[in-house]
Symmetry: C2
Subunit: 465 residues, 2 copies
């Protein structure tokens, strides 16, 4: 090797952000590098978050979800090998091992970027004795999963009697797949171990649950699935929970979360944390010459400093870009952590429900040993006399001693949820609850009430402290 070789494991958001940023930076500083990327699937840089909207039919083709095809990455200078599953790393020799079409291969590296993402959690109850998924049961993580769901839902919707989908898992993907199944004309039961959107405080998640129920989604909280019943074809017919309840279904979405895909890295002696994720330094390094970014990593919570697992494309893109920069100019960028910001919606028929959160929930604050006070404020997204006005509830959190802003949760109608960024931006800069209560935010009747609801919520909490 005359040129420095960077090998990237995984060709989605984090890996390809790192690859292209490294190529850009190398060009800037006039350094010769070679970037080889190994991707286990045939797809690169696609929007996993867009899959529910493709499954629902809102997005016509999976092509639209692909930000950059393998061909495009190659044109841009990445030597991309698809169908190549990373199997191990020989750190002393500087060699990555992988399986390509069933053949064991290896590639030497000067620097290695691990960006292998996360894999869906597949509970034992979802598997047949042979280790395959029960018929009618699938996650919704990859483009292959997405195509399978379209086929399954279209077929089920065409059946004579109304068909029912059980969604196991009441988080973001669960709610979005419930929307997709409803859009395809199916009945939906949403089973959740604790509560729907359990990353919210109970008084906020209960608002979500109530509105989903009013929209015709059967929501069952505290429903831990323990087993499935299958018909003679091996197809799911019902779901049994730990309480002995049985929920009939024709299809079952596994929205039970993901975990870092790091098995091969553990074998190489790289340390992983509570969720099995790599724990990179702020610059993205995990060992000498080895870097990690994206969903295969755990990340630091910016407010608590604790490690957490937050598998989102936003972090993956940012981390990948940081690693790509530091590959060429070490130490020049660092990752600032996460606030736990997230957003989703449930839209079907007359229902337009938006949900978002940032910072610490009451439970998260308690777990971190932090004091937190909070208050829910109800209002509207626009002046009450405007047709745009939709109801919204905002819960804000602050430390009652230091008055530091700690988080917010929003449940409301159209234009409600993205307001969470106002709080996230304030939180990121270490604002107090008073800062948020006093800031100069935008008002005109179609856009807000004169006391913007997020600000009103902050003001009311500030007054109570």
């Amino acid at each position: 090797m005359t040129r420095e070789r960077i090998v990237v494991l995984g060709a989605d958001a984090a890996g390809m952000s790192a690859a292209h940023q490294a190529l850009r930076m190398a060009k800037q500083v006039g350094r010769e590098i070679e970037v080889i990327a190994l991707e286990k699937t045939v797809h690169t840089s696609y929007s996993a978050c867009g899959i529910p909207y493709w499954v629902s039919g809102e997005v016509e083709s999976s092509d639209e979800l692909i930000a950059r095809s393998p061909e495009r990455h190659r044109e841009m200078g990445v030597d991309l090998i698809t169908g190549a599953l990373a199997t191990g790393i020989d750190r002393d020799a500087g060699v990555a091992h992988y399986s390509h079409d069933g053949v064991d291969k290896s590639v030497g590296y000067d620097q290695l970027v691990i960006a292998t993402g996360a894999s869906p959690i597949v509970p034992d109850w979802a598997l047949r004795p042979n280790g395959q998924l029960v018929g009618g049961v699938a996650p919704a993580k990859t483009l292959v999963d997405g195509q399978q769901w379209i086929d399954l839902l279209v077929a089920a919707a065409g059946a004579e009697s109304p068909r029912r989908v059980v969604v196991a898992g009441g988080g973001y993907i669960g709610v979005e797949m419930a929307e997709a199944a409803r859009a395809r004309g199916l009945e939906v039961t949403l089973l959740t171990r604790s509560a729907v959107m359990s990353s919210l405080d109970v008084d906020m998640s209960s608002r979500v649950e109530k509105q989903l129920a009013e929209a015709g989604v059967q929501v069952v909280g505290g429903a831990q699935v323990v087993g499935l019943e299958v018909d003679h074809r091996g197809w799911v017919t019902s779901v049994e929970t730990v309480d002995g309840d049985v929920h009939r279904c024709d299809l079952l979405v596994l929205a039970t979360g993901v975990l870092p895909a790091t098995e091969f890295a553990v074998g190489a002696g790289l340390e992983t944390g509570q969720w099995g994720g790599l724990r990179a330094q702020p610059d993205g390094s995990v060992a000498s010459g080895i870097w990690a970014a994206g969903d295969c990593c755990e990340v630091r919570h910016r407010l608590t400093g604790d490690w957490t697992f937050s598998p989102l494309g936003t972090h993956a893109n940012k981390q990948g870009r940081i690693v790509g920069t530091n590959l060429i100019t070490p130490g020049s960028r660092s990752f600032g952590g996460v606030l736990g910001t997230a957003i989703t919606r449930y839209v079907h028929g007359d229902t337009h429900l938006e949900i978002s959160r940032t910072g610490l929930s009451t439970r998260e604050a308690q777990a971190a040993g932090l004091r937190v006070s909070s208050m829910v404020t109800e209002g509207r997204t626009a002046s009450g006399y405007m047709t745009e006005a939709a109801p919204v509830a905002v819960k804000v959190f602050a430390d009652p001693d230091t008055r530091a802003l700690a988080g917010a949760q929003i449940v409301g109608g159209r234009a409600a949820a993205k307001r969470i960024d106002t709080v996230a931006a304030a939180l990121w800069s270490g604002a107090s609850i008073d800062d948020l209560a006093e800031a100069d935010l935008a008002y005109a009747p179609p856009f807000a009430t004169v006391w913007e609801i997020v600000q009103l919520a902050a003001r009311r909490l500030a007054d109570s402290l």
Copy 2:
């Protein structure tokens, strides 16, 4: 007087916020106060910002624009006198003079709150020799103005040939009244002295101008009005600009701005500034026992420390509340200044145009002697494959030396403009351009691109510095 008497001049946002907050605080601390409010009109606490949407027909009745009627204020403990125009203050005696139904009266005070708001600027060319407005010419500031505009527009729209409204002034009210006139079926010419939305940088305001023109609004920049032609009835028929251009019209909206209504206060020796506004201390006081809040005040720009004039309901409500608190517990609250945040839209037919800004424009930064770098980034409000995706352009500003964030301007489609709050919240807390580029903002396909456009704009500017 056994009870302490607070006299409030002006019963809109600032005055009534002060009045009720004082009553609340007095109750809390067990202090006996009496609040007398003098209001020159018969209306209290109405949304002036809502008037264009009432004129357009989107809001059915002016009742909807009234947050609290005089009766309601009285029920809540304010001794409210309508039709009472403040005419002077005797500071030594502690007496406010006013004219009530043409009769001179006076009232003693222990503490006085000046909240007399702002008055439309009426250029000489809009007046007849007798000092009355030319026929067909009116501002759009009060509920009386609003009703007049509804009557005028409905009558004009009912005429045989399409009727044309000239809007003189291309700021927020000008754009909103253009929307209202179009909604009523009239043709619109928007005349502006400099450019439409001139509080934006030219490269952003030109986007607004282009889209307004595409939507059928005739926008004429650099058009300083010097005179009107009137018919035999004294009704406006055309507008002449300094360049000699003549624009035919049947009606003319005066959207030429407002100035503080402080004549009587100047007479009492209270100092006013460049715009004629009172310059209150951060606690709201302007002299011993005298306070001021709302549109009759100038305010400090939070970033430059300079005085500016920013007549908006948001500031009026905040300042009123601060004064109300400090009336009872002096020194406990202070006003943090303004960022110049503002937002509006132009919506008609297929056109949905949103506009917002916060912080310093290039011109404002230069005027304050500050260095500022900026960059325009184009993107979308949602993932490109979603039906929600609308184009948006974001210009961000930062100090190239300190990297301090300095402002942002947004022009785009649906859901574009309220993102300005993300920048405003960051600005309020003294964030750097890097903070905004790195913050954990919310992403899901219906709400944003994976690099949220505001963040992408910040990142690109940050990379260039």
